[in-house]
């Protein structure tokens, strides 16, 4: 194969595909990115066996063919070339990359050993606003678990019912739900959050097509596609948490975030911030033995009975930060039942979090 392309374009398609490649891959062959040239297009594929990212670029194709090269190395090599045109060609077990003087010769990996990665014929999928999807994924993604001991909690649930489609994630301590009222109905699918974090980075675009299959989920756009194996197993039942909450505090979102940020200066991760909810607002306080304490009051609207509830600082911050709008509403029942964080406009985001027993 032999191509010519602009350095920035080539570095971009190689770099994005290389994001799927893991340095710790058990199979050495998966350390490579597959480069295929056909019909004036370069298609680049990277995978770690679970996540596969495909990108492509219109190039000046001087000779069709395919090659497999070490992913991180080739992406970095191209990126570090001088700006301008870059030529890439493979022959005799080597890939040569040149541009404005420098010349890299990289050993090819055995392309015939690379697992079959031909994208399956797409059965359509659901096309939706790309910004809306990536924002929603970020909103719920904070609640997903990173602990592989409970695999079903490491995913984001895509599902739909009579009220429409939604995304849900939980790590067992908090649970985030984002309704996507306008979107076509998602078939119930549990997609690894680790892969979803890559959607905006690798294929983010104004329109994204979501194709949720029984074994794999694929997210595609003009910029490429990301395919991942879905998580088997059932997402825990969660709807019963959203009953009625007798106590409701409405405060300016930025003020609450700033206050929690100040309080966290005093705390270690496991020391909770106490919220004393009362008529007229909330008093935040945090105390750490042998270090000190911080307290402050935020004015707001409170309806219900005065009460105190304590939350992990990071869990509370994640939820408040994910809310869109000027105000945030904290709903609570008692000091040991879940609290709920929402916005005031009906944006369809709900963030449930368990308190810390103090």
């Amino acid at each position: 194969m032999r191509i010519r392309a602009e350095r920035d374009d080539l570095a971009d398609v190689l770099g994005r595909a290389a994001r799927a490649v893991s340095n710790r891959s058990p199979l050495p062959i998966l350390q490579g990115v597959l480069c295929e040239v056909e019909g004036g297009r370069l298609r680049v594929t990277g995978t770690d066996g679970e996540i596969t990212i495909r990108t492509s670029l219109q190039v000046e194709a001087l000779e069709e063919g395919r090659t497999l090269v070490p992913a991180k190395l080739v992406a970095e090599a191209v990126r570090k070339l001088p700006a301008g045109a870059v030529a890439m060609s493979s022959a005799g077990g080597q890939v040569e990359i040149t541009g404005n003087g420098p010349r890299f010769r990289l050993r090819e990996l055995n392309v015939d050993d690379y697992p079959a990665t031909a994208p399956k014929a797409t059965s359509g999928g659901i096309t939706m606003d790309g910004d809306l999807l990536t924002r929603a994924l970020n909103q719920v993604g904070v609640a997903a678990s990173g602990d592989d001991a409970r695999p079903t909690l490491t995913g984001v649930l895509f599902e739909a019912d009579e009220e429409g489609s939604r995304l849900v994630a939980t790590d067992g301590y908090r649970l985030a739900v984002r309704d996507l009222a306008g979107a076509e109905n998602f078939p119930t699918t549990l997609v690894p959050n680790r892969a979803l974090k890559e959607v905006s980075r690798t294929i983010g675009d104004s329109k994204i097509t979501v194709d949720l299959g029984e074994r794999e989920a694929t997210f595609g756009s003009e910029r490429g596609s990301m395919t991942v194996r879905v998580i088997e197993g059932a997402f825990p039942p969660y709807r019963h948490f959203f009953g009625s909450f007798p106590n409701r505090l409405t405060v300016p979102r930025e003020a609450l975030l700033d206050a929690v940020g100040r309080a966290s200066l005093v705390a270690e991760d496991h020391i909770p911030v106490r919220l004393n909810l009362h008529q007229g607002g909330v008093e935040l306080s945090i105390t750490r033995q042998e270090v000190g304490e911080e307290t402050e009051h935020i004015e707001g609207d409170f309806q219900g009975e005065d009460m105190t509830i304590a939350f992990n600082v990071r869990y509370l911050t994640d939820g408040v930060a994910a809310v869109v709008g000027d105000d945030v509403v904290i709903h609570a029942t008692d000091p040991v039942k879940p609290g709920l964080v929402t916005g005031t406009d009906e944006e369809g985001f709900r963030y449930l979090l368990m308190p810390v027993r103090v």
Partner: protein, 419 residues
């Protein structure tokens, strides 16, 4: 010219349980006798001459030493005698670090103007302990805790060894490598393969070589000790760092069902002690010792600290069985131990969302509904037991299977210490 005697004392009661029995019953003095039921906990020096050792089964001990007198443990007396001894120590210096029922470190550097030299204090301590209690105290005096402990070992039985700083390296280097606490049989074998028999040879071996053969931390540690580099101070009121229990047994250890019962019993005791101190721990360690006295340990760390018996059991069983399967299938096990560390007394508990999981699913996760309910249950069980006795209520596998071992609980709880 001689330097001032060094300020650290290691005091150690000789054959403590056995001597304590001889104090109670003068007819036992000068006799080959031992304390224990089923398993020897301590033997008099007369019995040791026949090869009787702690952790040996009574049957084996009797075979080695016909006519051996074996007596039961009078735990309250031991505890009282021990308290008396350390009260005497406290009369000389407030800096007493008790490390078990019969051993302590003392730093007397602040007491020299009152009592003269550390050597004088050591001599007076030995005299007072013998006079007031009838027990025999051996003392090592040196510049570090490590060397003081080595010295007291050399001093036994009934002796006092002072290692003057100018001669300490010469003293240490002449000793066999096994004099260093922590050099067990496995390490001794490995050192032997390197041609190292004495502390001096150890000291003059390249630390890189030691790290390579003994592991990074153990190698460096032993080399430092061989040059008497031990920066640990004597600490008075140390906070409890771990709570543990162990159980020695005969042949049963190769049977997984027996092992399981022993681990349940140990976890039951450790959990109860943790809860009594209002502590919980994140790390659970299982220790398995074999009949050649080599041992392995396996540990796991949780996200949040636990103190319930089932959580400790499930982790300890998993760790022990994994450890045995990995390195020890078929070997004879003669001791199992459990310790819980990374302790915290924080009242804060991050609760988990109640997903309505099946019983048993939330075990080992402190904030789960199941684990919280179990904690309440365990506290209720503890309360019942402190009122009606340990056997009033307990794990079914122990009640139905018969409690393991023949050593009374009171003795074990006395002999196991929290560090």
């Amino acid at each position: 010219m001689t330097a001032d005697p060094p300020p650290i004392l290691h005091v150690d009661l000789d054959a403590f349980y056995a001597t304590a029995e001889q104090v109670r019953d003068p007819r036992l003095r000068g006799k080959a006798m031992a304390v224990g039921e089923g398993v020897i906990m301590a033997a008099s020096y007369e019995a040791r001459r026949f090869g009787v050792r702690s952790a040996m089964s009574t049957a084996v001990a009797r075979r080695l030493c016909p006519g051996l007198i074996v007596v039961g443990g009078h735990f309250e007396d031991y505890s009282r005698l021990s308290t008396t001894v350390f009260d005497i120590c406290a009369e000389f210096t407030p800096v007493v670090e008790q490390i078990s029922i019969d051993e302590a470190f003392l730093d007397v550097s602040g007491a020299l103007h009152l009592f003269g030299s550390s050597v004088a204090i050591a001599g007076e301590l030995r005299r007072r302990v013998r006079h007031d209690t009838g027990l025999v105290l051996s003392v090592g005096v040196a510049s570090t805790k490590f060397l003081a402990k080595v010295a007291s070992r050399v001093a036994k039985p009934d002796g006092l060894v002072v290692v003057d700083p100018p001669t300490e390296i010469a003293f240490l280097h002449a000793l066999p490598a096994t004099a260093i606490w922590g050099v067990g049989r496995a390490t001794e074998t490995r050192l032997g393969e390197l041609g190292i028999g004495t502390v001096g040879q150890l000291a003059n071996t390249d630390p890189t070589t030691l790290r390579h053969h003994l592991g990074r931390s153990a190698g460096g540690h032993l080399h430092a000790l061989a040059w008497n580099r031990d920066p640990r101070p004597v600490v008075t009121s140390h906070r409890v760092k771990s709570v543990g229990a162990q159980s020695a047994f005969g042949r049963g250890g190769t049977d997984p069902a027996v092992r399981h019962r022993v681990l349940v019993d140990l976890a039951d005791r450790v959990g109860r002690r943790l809860r009594a101190k209002e502590l919980a721990g994140r790390t659970v360690t299982a220790r398995i010792r074999f009949d050649d006295m080599t041992a392995i340990t396996r540990s796991a760390t949780l996200k949040a600290p636990i103190a319930t018996t089932p959580a400790i059991v499930s982790l300890a069983v998993r760790l022990a069985e994994e450890g045995i399967a990995a390195v020890a299938a078929g070997r004879v096990i003669n001791l199992l131990g459990i310790a819980v560390s990374q302790l915290s007394s924080s009242p804060h508990l991050q609760l988990e969302l109640p997903f309505g999981e099946a019983p048993g699913e939330g075990v080992q996760r402190a904030g789960s509904v199941q684990e919280r309910a179990r904690h309440e249950l365990d506290l209720a069980i503890d309360a019942l037991r402190s009122r009606f006795g340990t056997d009033a209520v307990g794990p079914a596998s122990l009640v139905l299977g018969g409690r393991t071992g023949s050593v009374p609980d009171a003795f074990r709880d006395l002999a196991t210490r929290d560090r």
